[in-house]
């Protein structure tokens, strides 16, 4: 991909909601504001999502009386605001379609 095309591609993504996954199993959702050639991503108005903890899973499993059932749990989330996710920690990037 040449530089012009790459820039164009990324510019189209600006201000879209991105879901950036990191190598510690967290995910960040926020408005895409900026990136560079190391793939560092700046998101504004972002929220952090985290998979449920072991203890929460255990508690939910215990609470479920049907042994064959699938247990559903929510990811926990909190507001963070403006963040920069360094490219080296990113495992996956998704864009939310409007």
């Amino acid at each position: 991909m040449d530089n012009t095309k790459a820039t164009e591609y990324l510019e189209l993504l600006l201000n879209k909601k991105l879901r950036v996954h990191t190598n510690d199993r967290r995910m960040f959702i926020g408005d895409f504001k900026c990136t560079d050639n190391e793939c560092n991503v700046i998101l504004s108005q972002s929220y952090e999502y985290r998979p449920p903890t072991e203890s929460a899973i255990k508690a939910a499993t215990e609470a479920c009386h049907d042994p064959g059932a699938t247990v559903k749990l929510d990811m926990t989330s909190r507001f963070l605001g403006l963040i920069v996710v360094p490219g080296q920690h990113i495992t996956k990037i998704e864009v939310e379609d409007p």
């Binding site: 793939c39 998979p51 903890t53 499993t61 507001f79 963070l80 379609d97």
Partner: protein, 769 residues
């Protein structure tokens, strides 16, 4: 038991599915999350990014690099509160549901109290109360009903373990509700975020929506349970009872409502009666450190990096709480209105005590002074201004007659008077209110805001002159003839009033400068001189007002009883204000001479050496900056200033500006003349402050705050006596020195303003060598 292998954790892939759990415990659904389809663009994105050149940024045109600096860096342990070190778990192992001993409950309660007081002292909740795992469990996920605010949450409550589920829960809920009231009160008034108080709740709710009655009900239930306990010692039981009762009283004391009267005083008094029992039983408590964790910060909405837990000792917290309750109770004394001057005195006296009342109390006082368009919950702001005008400049004046405001016929002159007065008061209202508000700020802000406010008052004084000229034709005022120029002199009552308040604020700015240690040692003499210059202007002004008031009185042929009383009130104000101002003037003059004396003999460190880019004139202009744009009184030029204060600073050669160094005997002789002047003024100051201290509360305008005001006057007198002693010590030493260098016989030590007798009067320590 469910099969663990079949467990799936939802991750948001192409088909995100946040659904409610069967048991209904659902995490807060944040606005950022929208159900929608997400497309994986990892490859496209990273290919595109790597095709960028080094240093090239693709960014939103409105997004600045300046903003980018403020972004939290994910995975950086110092910035990212959510980052886990290897092997670290997100949650603590602490089991919130474990059985608690009564001793542990006491320990937890006392630890919570420490954190609560730390919050009151200005620390964020994330570093204090929100580190408690118990509070976290109650508040998150957000309970929709109070019944949901339980430690066990989804589980069926077990009947046993009441120490936890009944006692500690009631304590925690009432604590949170108390914080809610405190938070609401502070948020409604003026304060400085992160300086006085951190209002951030991190997307948590402090049980705002729940009725306080329900909480009281819960405490009562807990009290009932505890008082019937037979399996624990009486001391333990009493310790628990005291803590629960205190929560209940404290909750009632801070309860937030719009009614401004003293019906909350008894609750503060009850708290004060209970508090001494706390430290007597705190030894019974067993601390449960594990129930507090900094890890909770990972789950709080936070735009700041992780920060450590605040440590406040129980003794400190206990002292804070005692002061809070005492100040809370005392604050209501303000409601006994005795005129604007008294009200101002009250707030000064109340706020000047050290340590200054905490931010909650200062906001409470602001609310009492003015809220819901009422002053002290009893009068309109217009009434307050009118009353203050009557007290200071216009007793029983037709222009201020309340009946004017009821006239509706436009041909009646009173209609026009009322209209103009209304206009004037509309102009003055905010500025007058700002004085009272400003006095409730923290001390540094107080000085800073005054520097701005005084400019507003300068404008107001100017505007008021126009109102005065217009109103003159309605008041039938006859001018005084100036004895020398036979010019007409008019009273200008409204602008006189504004000038009076302006001068007072200027004095406060200088005096707060002493209190806050703003000035360098070598500037003190000059600043005390400027203070006496301002005060002498105010005295002249007060005498001018008095002349016009006297004249108006003589023009009233037969004054009614009410008129007589009104004039008496005004004269008593003016006479006492003159007395107090004279006492202040003498003291300031004395200290100014004393510091000149020290400087002359080089007994205090002074800027003898050249500072780069600094001259005495530059420094003087810098100090006068708050006053430079004020039209009246004019700031003296540096030349005038330097000549007037006879502050002939010896230069680095000790030659006092001339080519030849004067003989030591000459220097000493000049110094002793200065000392003579200092002595005269300080002796007069002592006499005058003595007279001030003897005034009764009504005259001194200190009703309701008499104890604090008298303590303050006593401290001024002690400072004054101390200054007199310094002078006589210096005199003796100088006599002994003869024609020698005074530095060989005298040693001067500076004292910080807070360590002296009174922060506005800096008297150095002196000793003969």
């Amino acid at each position: 038991m469910a099969d663990m292998s079949k467990l799936t954790i939802r991750e948001i892939h192409s088909k995100p599915a946040f659904e409610k759990d069967d048991d209904g415990s659902v995490a807060d659904q944040h606005p950022a999350w929208r159900p929608g389809v997400a497309r994986d663009i990892t490859t496209g994105f990273s290919t595109a990014a790597s095709a960028l050149t080094t240093g090239q940024l693709v960014k939103d045109e409105f997004f600045t690099l300046f903003e980018a600096v403020g972004a939290l860096e994910i995975m950086d342990p110092k910035m990212d509160s959510g980052h886990l070190r290897s092997g670290e778990t997100l949650e603590d192992d602490y089991d919130v549901l474990r059985e608690l001993l009564p001793e542990e409950v006491i320990g937890i309660m006392d630890q919570l109290l420490c954190f609560e007081m730390a919050w009151h002292a200005g620390h964020p909740l994330s570093q204090s109360l929100f580190t408690s795992l118990y509070l976290d469990r109650l508040l998150w996920p957000e309970p929709k009903m109070l019944e949901e605010a339980r430690f066990d949450r989804s589980k069926v409550p077990k009947p046993e373990n009441k120490m936890l589920h009944l006692v500690l829960r009631a304590y925690c809920l009432s604590l949170v509700k108390t914080c809610d009231f405190v938070h609401q009160r502070i948020s409604k008034e003026h304060y400085y975020e992160e300086e006085d108080f951190v209002s951030n709740l991190y997307h948590r709710n402090l049980l705002t929506q729940f009725d306080v009655v329900e909480i009281h009900h819960m405490i009562n239930e807990a009290l009932n349970y505890v008082s019937k306990l037979t399996n624990i010692s009486i001391t333990l039981r009493d310790a628990l009872v005291v803590r629960l009762e205190l929560r209940s009283y404290f909750l009632s004391a801070v309860q937030f409502d719009e009614i401004i009267d003293d019906h909350r005083v008894p609750w503060w008094e009850r708290c004060l009666r209970l508090i001494p029992a706390l430290p007597k039983t705190t030894y019974l408590g067993m601390r449960v450190e594990a129930s507090f964790s900094i890890k909770i910060q990972r789950r709080l909405a936070s735009t700041v990096p992780p920060r450590p837990m605040v440590n406040m000792s129980f003794d400190e917290a206990f002292e804070q709480l005692t002061k809070l309750c005492q100040n809370g109770k005392d604050a209501y004394r303000i409601l006994d209105y005795r005129g604007g001057a008294n009200l101002m005195r009250f707030i000064w006296a109340y706020q000047s005590r050290t340590p200054q009342p905490s931010v909650y109390i200062r906001c409470l006082m602001q609310a009492m002074v003015f809220s819901e368009m009422r002053v002290l919950g009893m009068m309109s702001f217009k009434e307050l201004i009118l009353d203050n005008l009557r007290e200071i400049v216009m007793p029983a004046d037709v222009l201020l007659d309340s009946s004017n405001f009821d006239v509706e016929a436009p041909q009646d002159p009173r209609f026009h008077v009322a209209k103009r007065m209304d206009d004037f008061m509309a102009t003055a209202a905010d500025r007058f209110l700002d004085i009272f508000r400003t006095l409730c700020m923290n001390r540094s802000r107080l000085r800073r805001i005054l520097c701005h406010l005084v400019l507003e008052w300068d404008n107001l004084q100017f505007d008021a002159e126009n109102f005065d000229t217009e109103l003159r034709k309605y008041s039938n005022e006859a001018p005084l003839k100036d004895a020398n120029s036979s010019e007409d002199l008019w009273a200008f009552p409204l602008s006189s009033w504004a000038y009076y308040h302006k001068l007072q604020q200027m004095e406060w700015i200088v005096q707060m400068g002493f209190e806050l240690d703003v000035y360098q040692i070598d500037e003190l003499g000059g600043m005390y001189w400027y203070l006496q210059y301002l005060i002498s202007t105010r005295i002249q002004h007060l005498e001018r007002i008095r002349t016009f008031t006297t004249r108006r009185l003589t023009r009233i042929s037969e004054s009614t009883l009410e008129e007589k009383a009104a004039f008496r009130r005004s004269f008593s104000f003016l006479d006492f204000a003159i007395l107090e101002a004279s006492a202040t003037l003498s003291f300031a003059d004395g200290l100014s001479c004393l510091f000149s004396f020290f400087a002359h003999l080089r007994l205090v460190p002074a800027p003898y050496h050249d500072r780069p880019y600094s001259t005495p004139e530059f420094r003087y202009n810098l100090r006068m900056r708050p006053f430079i744009s004020i039209s009246l009184p004019e700031v003296p030029s540096y030349q005038q200033f330097a000549a007037l204060i006879s502050l002939r600073m010896p230069d680095k050669n000790g030659t006092y500006g001339s080519k030849v160094k004067p003989a030591q005997s000459e220097i000493n002789q000049q110094a002793s003349q200065m000392l003579e002047l200092a002595e005269q003024s300080l002796k007069a100051a002592r006499r005058e402050w003595e007279a001030v201290s003897k005034a009764n509360a009504e005259t001194a305008r200190c009703q309701g705050c008499e104890d604090w005001w008298r303590t303050s006057v006593k401290n001024v007198m002690r400072a004054c006596i101390n200054a007199n002693i310094v002078v006589s010590t210096a005199k003796k030493a100088l006599a002994n020195a003869g024609t020698g260098d005074a530095r060989d016989v005298l040693k001067v030590e500076m004292v910080e303003s807070a360590k002296g007798y009174h922060p506005w009067w800096i008297v150095p320590k002196i000793s003969a060598k």
